[in-house]
């Protein structure tokens, strides 16, 4: 399984091991983490939910697409669901490739595609006790 939704903390070292291969000269790991402040508001925690069956399909499709496009089977992505604390990883992408340029490009491709098309939603909890569904159209990272 190269694409995974999980309610457990993401183990990025395990991801690096998953993509290792003797022909690979370059490995790129991307980790998205919960920030203290988003759009100027102090965040206390975050909750991710998903249309899980479809999110799994979309994640798998993105990994397949990245593998074909950049020419390496060594592509994995994990997205966390449920409640996360500040500083925890919400998503991790690991790519290994013989060369560094496509390793960077493939990792970037996976996270950009994920943010565009995987049905996952983020509810932010703020210091003032309010909560809000984050709209990707206004969110940046």
């Amino acid at each position: 399984m190269r694409a995974l939704l999980t309610r457990e903390p993401i183990d990025s070292t395990a991801l690096l091991e998953r993509v290792a291969g003797r022909a690979n000269g370059a490995t790129v790991l991307f980790i998205g983490t919960v920030r203290e402040v988003n759009e100027g508001r102090a965040v206390t925690g975050i909750e991710y939910s998903a249309y899980e069956s479809m999110a799994q399909r979309e994640l798998s499709a993105i990994v397949e697409d990245a593998s074909a496009r950049y020419g390496t089977p060594h592509v994995v992505v994990v997205h966390r669901l449920g409640e996360l604390m500040l500083g925890e990883a919400s998503v991790a992408v690991a790519v290994a490739h013989p060369r560094r340029a496509p390793a960077f490009d493939a990792a970037r491709f996976v996270i950009e595609q994920l943010k565009k098309r995987v049905p996952i939603w983020k509810l932010e909890h703020y210091v003032d006790g309010t909560r809000e569904w984050v709209n990707a159209g206004t969110a940046h990272r």
Partner: protein
């Protein structure tokens, strides 16, 4: 024919339920079903042209539905 509407995140909160079954005319399209969804209590706040997935794949407005289809209305995604 009956189709299942799935609602998520802010949309599920607005309507108050995560899914609802609707009886729609045979061959109804995605946009026709969206109009019926909009008539549900609380659903007036849905944006004009939301993303829709049919049976876990994104579908265009004109996509014709079949009995038992799972029609998911997808709020702006925010993974990552």
């Amino acid at each position: 024919m009956v189709v299942t509407i799935l609602l998520f995140a802010s949309y599920a909160e607005a309507v108050g339920v995560p899914s609802v079954k609707l009886d729609v005319p045979p061959g109804a399209t995605v946009s026709e079903v969206l109009e019926l969804v909009r008539a549900l209590p609380g659903a007036g706040a849905l944006p004009p042209g939301p993303l829709v997935a049919v049976n876990e794949s994104y579908a265009a407005e004109g996509h014709p539905l079949a009995p038992g289809d799972e029609v998911a209305i997808i709020p702006p995604v925010a993974g990552g």
